[in-house]
Symmetry: C2
Subunit: 198 residues, 2 copies
C-alpha cells in the first residue's frame, strides 16, 4: 500500500501500472491480487487507510489541549503538516482532487470522513476562539475552507510543481506565515497588536 500510494500520487491512477506497484513493493503482480481484489480496491484501501490515523491523532490533540484558541489552531495546523503534509500521505489530497470525478463513491467517503471531520476539528478551535473573544465573530464554513486552503495548497504543490524543478521556499517558514496570516484575519475588530503566534 505504501508503494501504491507513492505511485498513485506520482503518476495518477490511470497512469500507474500494477506491475510497477508490485515491483516497488518487492513482490510480483500476482501477489497484489492475493490481497486486493483489483486496482480500484487497492486505490480505495490507500485512500481509506491513509488519513484516518492522523485524523484521530488530531482529535486527541484537540481534546487534551489547554492553551488559547490561537495556540490550538496553530498546533493543529503544525500537527497536520508534520503528520500529514510532510509525510507520504501528504500526496493524498492531490490524488483525491485529481481522481474524485472518476471515483465518485470514494470521493464521497473522503469528503464525509476526512474533509468534514477535519473541518469539525478546526471548527472547534474557531468556535472556542470566538466564544472566548480571541477571534472575531464570523461564519464557520467559509472561514474554515479559507484558512485551511493555504496549508492544503502547500501539500498539493509539493507533489505537483515542486518535483518539476519549480522551487519554493522552506515549507516550515511558509507554514508559519500561514498561521500568522490566519490569526491576523481572525483578530477581533478592535484591540490589535502583539498577537503574533509563539
Amino acid at each position: 500500500m505504501s508503494a501504491a500510494l507513492e505511485l498513485f500520487v506520482e503518476r495518477g491512477y490511470a497512469a500507474t501500472r500494477l506491475e510497477d506497484v508490485a515491483a516497488r513493493a518487492g513482490v510480483s503482480k500476482g501477489t497484489v491480487y492475493l490481497y486486493f481484489s483489483g486496482k480500484e480496491a487497492l486505490f480505495q484501501a490507500v485512500i481509506r487507510e491513509g488519513l484516518l490515523p492522523a485524523l484521530e491523532q488530531g482529535e486527541r490533540l484537540a481534546a487534551g489541549h489547554g492553551g488559547s484558541a490561537a495556540q490550538l489552531l496553530a498546533d493543529l495546523l503544525r500537527g497536520w503538516w508534520e503528520l500529514v503534509g510532510a509525510q507520504k500521505v501528504g500526496g493524498l489530497p492531490k490524488l483525491m482532487i485529481a481522481e474524485a470525478r472518476n471515483f465518485p463513491q470514494i470521493a464521497r467517503f473522503y469528503h464525509d470522513e476526512v474533509i468534514v471531520r477535519g473541518h469539525r476539528l478546526l471548527g472547534q478551535a474557531l468556535e472556542l476562539g470566538m466564544a472566548r473573544g480571541e477571534f472575531r465573530r464570523c461564519e464557520l464554513e467559509p472561514t474554515l475552507s479559507i484558512l485551511f486552503a493555504p496549508v492544503l495548497m502547500l501539500a498539493v504543490w509539493r507533489h505537483s510543481f515542486v518535483p518539476c524543478g519549480c522551487t519554493d521556499g522552506p515549507p516550515e517558514a511558509y507554514l508559519e506565515s500561514c498561521i500568522d496570516f490566519i490569526l491576523r484575519a481572525l483578530a477581533p475588530e478592535s484591540a490589535r497588536g502583539g498577537e503574533t503566534p509563539t
Copy 2:
C-alpha cells in the same frame, strides 16, 4: 480544443480517449490528427492557449486601475473568478496539478508563464498597498501564495468534489468572504475597523 479541455478536466489525461474528444467535437478520430500531432500535443495546446488571454486581460485591468490597492486586489480576484474560475478554463489548475509530474516541461511552462506572471500581477496590488500604507508591510512571496490559495481552491473544488454531490455554498459569497478575510489579514497593525470591501 474545447472538447479536449472538458474531457481532460473531467477525467484526467490518461483516462481521456481521443475518440471521445473527437466525438464531443463532432468529428472523427482521424481529424484530430490533422490538427495535432498527437495526444500530448493536444494537451499542450489546451494548456498554452487556455489561460494566456485571461492573464493579459488581468494585466490590462491592473494597468488602468485608479482606485485603492484594496479595490484593485478585490477587483483582480473577482475578475479572475469571472474570467477563469467560473469558466471552463477554471478546470485547468486542477488538470495541471494532477498532471504536472507526468509532463514536466508543460508544468514548467505553466509555472513560468501563468503562476509567476499571475503572482507578479497580484504582487503589484500588494506592493501598491504597502507603499500607500493601506496594507501592513510583509514579505511578498509567501503572502501572495497564501492569499491566492483560497480562490484557487474554489476553482479546483468545483471540478473535483462538487460534481460528486459534495455540495458547497454559492461561489460568489465564498469569494467575497475570501476578499474580506484577505483584507483583514493585510490591514496595518494599528488603525482597524471599517475596511470592509465595497
